[in-house]
Subunit: 341 residues, 4 copies
């Protein structure tokens, strides 16, 4: 490994898992620019290993959705922006699982969309993961139907400690990030968070081999992951009010709340004001530009808050480099790391 | 033109425009299999032709969003499914317009999300349409910024007469179709409607040169269109409860209501049950399949009902041909028509 | 009967029932000031007469929720306000019914809050109506529990023809009124509607012996009613955008849409602007007044649109007489009618 | 004071105020049965004392809505239910204040219902509080209008430490209670919370001299309060999932989430199951009973979660005594305290 890169490897013992953003001491302190090689366990804490392992029986509330971290990033102060770049996200096992879960999901009565229906059947699906061919295999439980899907690994949960004296369960997405469950959080993406607490205290988990838009039944193709990220800081500048994403091709804003139209509104309003600032456009002119060129890839419609993403291709942003180009630099760091591995 | 194709051309006089689905007599009676060459005026009735033509001044409520039709399809009876295949959608002029409109749009107080704010500024943007290069050009109103976008023509409004003694303004999407504002309604797509009234009475309008997901400000790149469709009937079979789309690559269900999560639920529940029936899957197995493989391209978050689309690639539907293959046949009819034109 | 009162009695034959607001010809033409003695059948068309008459079996969609009317009020023009004062609402039979209905109600998956649950059990409850003692008696179906409740008759459905070329099923409340299902619509209340079509074309039905706030399971204590109303016109003046109510003690605005917070917003925004106009208050001052003194009695959280009511006691409106005092005059007409009967 | 009553008086220094439920050490340990004489500061920390004290200028986020506590109740364990009975709630000063606040309230764009509107004007209203005559006086800011309203003191915020490793800002209502802003929380009411942490750790604040249903503009008639409560424990029994209220006349369930229909659903579903258990009714029979006899007094439609209340008069609950009669006992303790004072 080159001397240019500071690499920290960390594989938590189950006793070190965190269950909330906020209220949890840092497991490591790292400098901005550090490459982190991390292991994350799946949302079930690895306890669902076959179709007979019903989550509601093998898992114990609130010990759901463990995250790896939090990491204290040296020098991060409230008002700064933390950049976390995903270098690689690789399934750690050759299988993954999904399930229904009682009163959780988009097409079932839940604890908030409360009704008098008994829960839908709890059922587990086990996926074969073929890391060479980059596929996962779905198999129906009540018939012989089976089909392959592309492997497209992502992290459902990544965030920082919230502000305002809060601590939030890892299952809840909000302004601090958390369980956004956006398929956009794949290798190659940089995610930006406003820093609320000294050190930012970021953590991540809930790896998915792939996920449909909305995460319909409430769980994706859940997997333990070997993940590499690079972290960096953008000091000062305008505050980052909601998590933002950047890829080589697009910038994105997010919003997490209910009802879903409000999540859409938050994400779009953030992107309108961001684009207006970057292109020195009047706000209504940016509003119009996004009305015709914007995308809105849904993240989740199942978690305690729903998450919407507003996305604009960089082709509409000629000459613009957001956050002082930190994405390009972290992308380069990631490439350097991968070439040396 | 080949004798094999029945082609009807129709360009309505403004006095023939319809303003509602239902309650309007048919302008033509057509046989299943007919190719229709239609002209549709833009959502402003063609009255917004420059930046000084403010819609709230040049248009008069409720004379908004005129549609061409309705067409009585011979033999269509309640319980049947009407198939409308878009052969081509071409802008009729070398310009198009968009605008904000008082108290309409996703990021403004509206008549339903009622607040005490005065309306945002009403502003018009004129787009240059380059039919050769397949682009439209956006120009900011308060600065010199300008950028090209791909031309991607679609119809915002298409539907049939509703059931239950109802007539609905053309601006409202619901189970009968209407102003769904989905970018998926482009050339090459077949849309399916449950028939509620004898003759189905379908109509269409509200052409867009392109549109962002959600139609953020409430109006797309609005344009008059020269549009060719082929219509056909699927007699009997299961009822089509909500509009469905089919392309060469995917099948889609829609839902139009508020809040947006309920539009999402309708579309996904319809697709789950549709896929379960086609693949002979148990419903929970179909729910799981869509949870990982499904897409959810947002249509509109601005109209009286919001519209969500649930989409599954045909790669996940090996050997399946929906609606007896009518899409493939209409696709072929369309190709024959285009090759003869 | 005094020569001063014009009284029209009308008991529709089932063939005369209307199933929509709009698109239906008037059954009678009446002058403003007319007292109407009407019979309205219950929401099931009188077909549910015992616990074995399951609504989904004895009723046929869309023949649900018949209304009596519409009545053409001479001289009513768009822009006017129609006043309908309830003089008396009396159950026509000594029994009434309620039921669950498949996929309808607040605590069940519905066609819009679509899920994968099978419908809850369909069950009918028959209530004894004691018109002397002014009570109804509830009896549990699966145990011996029984309890009396006060009789508090009201109409769930009352409205006028909508504007914008629309016709709406009687089950849907919107700006034209319709199935608002507010317990405030009892004898002594005047309801105001903006007139959209010449003659206003008002109709009413869906009598309830009583109803809880929100109409939780989707049906109230449903009953045929002998109802007396007086109708009048308020020519010109500001438009009445949403139905408003007035009693001797309070004024009320309504809003009907989804999600429920938007229905609340509509009703409150209408009442803020109404109160500001009547008290010559700045809008923010009226906003503050309502924030502390306003009530928000929920109407329905089960129909295709939810209905919220915003209410202010007249003690906060010293010296104010809304709509030129038409309520007081109609109240007087009602008293005169009752004293002469 | 009688030896029978244990009375603890506590007036926090501003440095002792708490800003969150959870993550805050107890200020006192008290035995079940203790009478607590407490002082609570208003939601502005007492900093808004005149019309020129704009909250956004004199208050500093996140130091909003201080609460007094938390109190560790000896013996409270997860699974128990904490009962807090309000003996008296008296304004501590002869004035109170209300205000609009930028991007907060039901009729304004907010940070979650995000839009492009600038904030409505921030304005403060000062109310005269007449503790003898039991009134508060509203005075318009832009005209001479003034009117008295009944004094009806209540606490907007009361709750316990949440479960699941969470800490929540005092402004947010959820399953742990918090800023429910229900006018039902007046003297004479007992509120029940499920215990999540040893000691329960309850706290309260945000006194209101009165409040409209929904708390339309986001703030009530805000006041410092001298409040007396009695606390007690119900060991074991069924879990209390959401806060419940009891008065001499009614029992109530609450739900706090978005959209508002889901808050309604939570509260009604909890009350249906509660009533079914108490009356030994089948769930559908309880659903029907509440559909006709239930009330739904709205609490808030402005906070990060909206709060709905489901209410049933005790006349419908013959022979029922909930939570082993703890309300009656605490009511007696309160009367004893008041008679001895």
């Amino acid at each position: 490994m080159s001397a240019d890169l500071t690499v920290v490897s960390y594989r938590p013992d189950p006793s070190e898992w965190a269950w909330a953003f906020g209220g949890t001491p840092a497991v490591r302190r790292v400098q901005p620019g550090t490459v982190l090689e991390l292991y994350t366990e799946d949302c079930f804490g690895g306890r669902v290993r076959g179709v007979d392992d019903l989550p509601s029986q093998v898992c114990e509330f609130p010990y759901l959705n463990p995250v790896t971290g939090p990491f204290h990033v040296e020098g991060a102060e409230p008002g700064d922006t933390l950049a976390v770049h995903f270098v690689s996200i690789e399934p750690a096992r050759d299988w993954a699982v999904s399930s229904t879960f009682p009163h959780f999901g988009a097409l079932t009565a839940t604890h908030t969309t409360a009704m008098l229906h008994p829960a839908l059947e709890e059922r587990v699906w086990v996926y074969e993961v073929d890391r060479e061919r980059r596929t996962v295999r779905y198999s129906a439980r009540r018939s012989d139907f089976t089909v392959e899907m592309p492997l497209d690994p992502m992290h459902g949960t990544v965030g920082v400690a919230p502000g305002g004296f809060e601590a939030r369960q890892t299952i809840t997405p909000d302004a601090h990030g958390g369980n956004m469950d956006s398929p956009e959080l794949r290798a190659g993406t940089t995610v930006y968070f406003g820093v609320n607490q000294p050190g930012a205290l970021f953590a991540l988990g809930d790896g998915h081999c792939r996920q449909g838009e909305g995460e319909l039944c409430g769980t994706a193709v859940e997997a333990a992951m070997d993940t590499v990220v690079v972290v960096d800081l953008v000091k000062g500048g305008g505050p980052t009010l909601w998590p933002r994403f950047e890829t080589d091709d697009a910038i994105m804003s997010t919003g997490s709340t209910r009802p879903l139209e409000d999540a859409y509104r938050i994400s779009q309003q953030d992107l309108v004001t961001w684009v207006a600032a970057e292109l020195r456009l009047d706000e209504l002119d940016a509003y119009q530009l996004l009305s015709q060129a914007g995308e809105a890839p849904l993240a989740n419609v199942v978690d305690p808050n729903y998450t919407a993403v507003a996305k604009l291709a960089k082709t509409y942003l000629p000459g613009v480099q957001v956050y002082d180009g930190v994405h390009e630099r972290l992308r380069e760091t990631g490439r350097a790391y991968l070439s040396q591995r």
